[in-house]
């Protein structure tokens, strides 16, 4: 029946009407994975047995007449930095190659409460540091639309398995664009929620003040379904989580009416460095919104010029502190070469366990926090973060949403940027400000380039403006027909 080609919303209906069973569906997506993942390399761990057992349990519940969530029986893949009890959670690092968490992340418990079928753990850049999935210590993930190209990163696996039809939905995490840029590269929908909307408990920390878990899907409605399941205040485990005004109700309240909606186009995001094809496609989307009755006008966000320095200072500083816990003592990789010196055990375990990019970030973070440099780098970046927040707050006095490109280009060739960290970092220019300001950002496909690679667009919203973003996303999706795109593999 090729169930793998259907959206989560369609599958939810078929399950509710008992036209298909969760076991049937799980077998179908696992068969798709079996057929294509050797080429795509999206998964680190396929949890086939656990997924089938979960599917059987859901079917039994449904047979007994229990009221179930719309997500009950829907397969979802989870990024490998989100803790799953008893299932390998490696962060795509040698450092955690054998780590089986003793507990679930809050989002994983929430998925279980919705009777979701977790299909396994998907690939990423090591510790979520990277923009191409090439920093994984496990293997490279390939873009399903062109296997010679990267899927983006760091949640490259999460985007690739959805684009390849291996699963209708997945979870990723976004610290500087790690959900949005791979969604763009792979032609799927990805949402970075407002900071605090989703509990970070059990998300292995990269930069705690910027990290946020979010959903991937092939349609806006599917993405809203998964968002509804994962948001919520988590007072026991995450003191930065908050109650959202849209808890559990985004899908039900989707409304694609764009009349009178005000959309700002920040001129600095369309300038030099953005490829012509990307610029044209995003501006065409802006015209589409005008045709639907929205007011679209130019705005200015000049501080984007400083976004990369601020982001790389703050995120690396926090990373250097967060990753201090990996010392070869309590869990994860321990060097066999330490002899009988404890400091040597720390140093060798870390130097052998972390990959090159992670070590670069730890070095930068340690530097900007070190005595003599703290004021010039870390403290200044924190103060500049306030300026960026203010700049967005001012912009949102005149517009409801901001429309921008996601990345300067579409997905590039594997290996083309791995030797130059700065070239890789430069690709994050359109996404990092959203994290610095703690805002929500929605990415969805808005066209294809001449090489037939997907082009994405980004809608940035006010804090907790997720409903507005997804409404606008749905409106564009209906007008453009760009939805449920599955790569021909």
């Amino acid at each position: 029946m090729e169930l793998f080609k259907k959206t989560a919303a369609e599958l939810s209906d078929l399950l509710a009407k008992k036209e298909i069973s969760a076991v049937e569906l799980t077998k179908d997506v696992l068969a798709r994975t079996q057929a294509v993942d050797e080429k795509v390399g999206g998964y680190i761990t396929v949890a086939a047995d656990a997924a089938l057992a979960q599917a059987e349990a859901v079917d039994a519940k449904r047979a007994s007449g229990e009221a179930l969530s719309p997500l009950a029986g829907i397969p979802v893949a989870v990024k490998d930095n989100i803790c799953t009890r008893g299932t390998l959670t490696t962060c795509a690092s040698k450092m955690l190659y054998n780590f089986k968490p003793p507990y679930n992340a809050t989002v994983v418990d929430k998925l279980a409460a919705h009777d979701v079928v977790v299909t396994g753990k998907v690939n990423m850049d090591e510790f979520a540091m990277g923009s191409s999935c090439e920093n994984s210590a496990m293997h490279v993930t390939h873009n399903p639309h062109d296997l010679t190209r990267v899927p983006g990163g760091s949640s490259g696996g999460s985007a690739a398995v959805v684009a390849a039809g291996e699963v209708p939905l997945s979870l990723g995490s976004d610290t500087g664009g790690s959900i949005r840029q791979p969604a763009s590269f792979c032609g799927v929908v990805g949402l970075k929620p407002t900071y605090g909307a989703v509990s970070r408990y059990g998300l292995i920390a990269f930069a705690s003040s910027l990290d946020q878990i979010g959903p991937f899907g092939r349609t806006v409605e599917d993405t809203a379904m998964l968002l509804d399941a994962i948001t919520g205040y988590d007072p026991m485990h995450d003191s930065t989580s908050v109650k959202t005004p849209f808890e559990g109700s985004v899908r039900a309240n989707l409304n694609p009416d764009m009349k009178g909606m005000k959309i700002g186009l920040p001129r600095e995001y369309f300038g030099e460095g953005i490829s012509d094809e990307v610029r044209k496609a995003v501006l065409a989307a802006a015209d589409q919104y005008k045709a639907m009755g929205a007011e679209v006008f130019e705005i200015s966000l000049p501080l984007v010029e400083y976004a990369l320095p601020i982001y790389y200072i703050l995120s690396s500083a926090e990373a250097s502190s967060n990753l201090a816990r990996f010392d070869g003592v309590k869990y994860g990789y321990r060097t066999p070469n330490a002899g009988d010196d404890l400091i040597d055990l720390y140093v060798k375990s870390r130097s052998e366990g972390f990959g090159a990019e992670v070590q670069r970030r730890i070095m930068l973070g340690t530097y900007v926090l070190s005595s003599g440099y703290y004021d010039a780098y870390y403290k200044k970046a924190r103060a500049a973060q306030r300026k960026i927040k203010e700049e967005f707050a001012n912009a949102f006095q005149t517009c409801d949403m901001i429309l921008t490109p996601v990345a300067p280009t579409t997905a590039y060739e594997i290996g083309s940027k791995t030797t130059d960290p700065l070239a890789m970092y430069a690709g994050d220019i359109c996404t990092v400000s959203v994290n610095i300001a703690g805002l929500p950002g929605l990415v969805q496909p808005c066209g294809f380039d001449s090489a037939n690679m997907p082009i994405g667009m980004q809608l940035i919203g006010r804090p907790f403006g997720e409903q507005t973003l997804l409404n606008a996303g749905l409106a564009f999706e209906q007008a453009s027909g760009l939805r449920n795109i599955i790569a021909a593999l």
Binding site: P102, Y306, D327, R350, Q359, R360, Y425
Partner: protein, 95 residues
């Protein structure tokens, strides 16, 4: 600001990383470039904003309740590189 060789070595000590040998030159080049990129921040005039305290947020506190969800055997043993007699074994620290 250029990073000197001595500074690189000092940061590596603080970060508990071994960057000796052939890795040093490559990492020093990369760090030089990355610090050059973040140095752009020095051109930004922040006016009177110096305070980094986030005034919009309040501390979220909860009761400090003692719970024991796991025993050490359940929590630590399965993942510890070297688990002995209810604890994690490390090289001798105190003579």
């Amino acid at each position: 600001m250029a990073i000197t060789r001595q500074e690189m070595e000092h940061i590596a000590v603080l970060a508990r990383l071994d960057i000796a040998g052939e890795r040093f030159d490559r990492l020093a080049d990369d760090m030089q470039n990355i610090v050059g990129m973040v140095d752009k921040l020095q051109q930004l005039d922040l006016g009177d904003i110096t305070d980094v305290i986030n005034t919009e947020r309040k501390n979220a506190l909860r009761e400090d309740v003692v719970r024991q969800d796991y025993t050490p055997d359940e929590l630590i043993a399965p993942n510890a590189p070297d688990f002995q007699a209810g604890g994690v074994a490390v090289p001798r620290v105190v003579e």
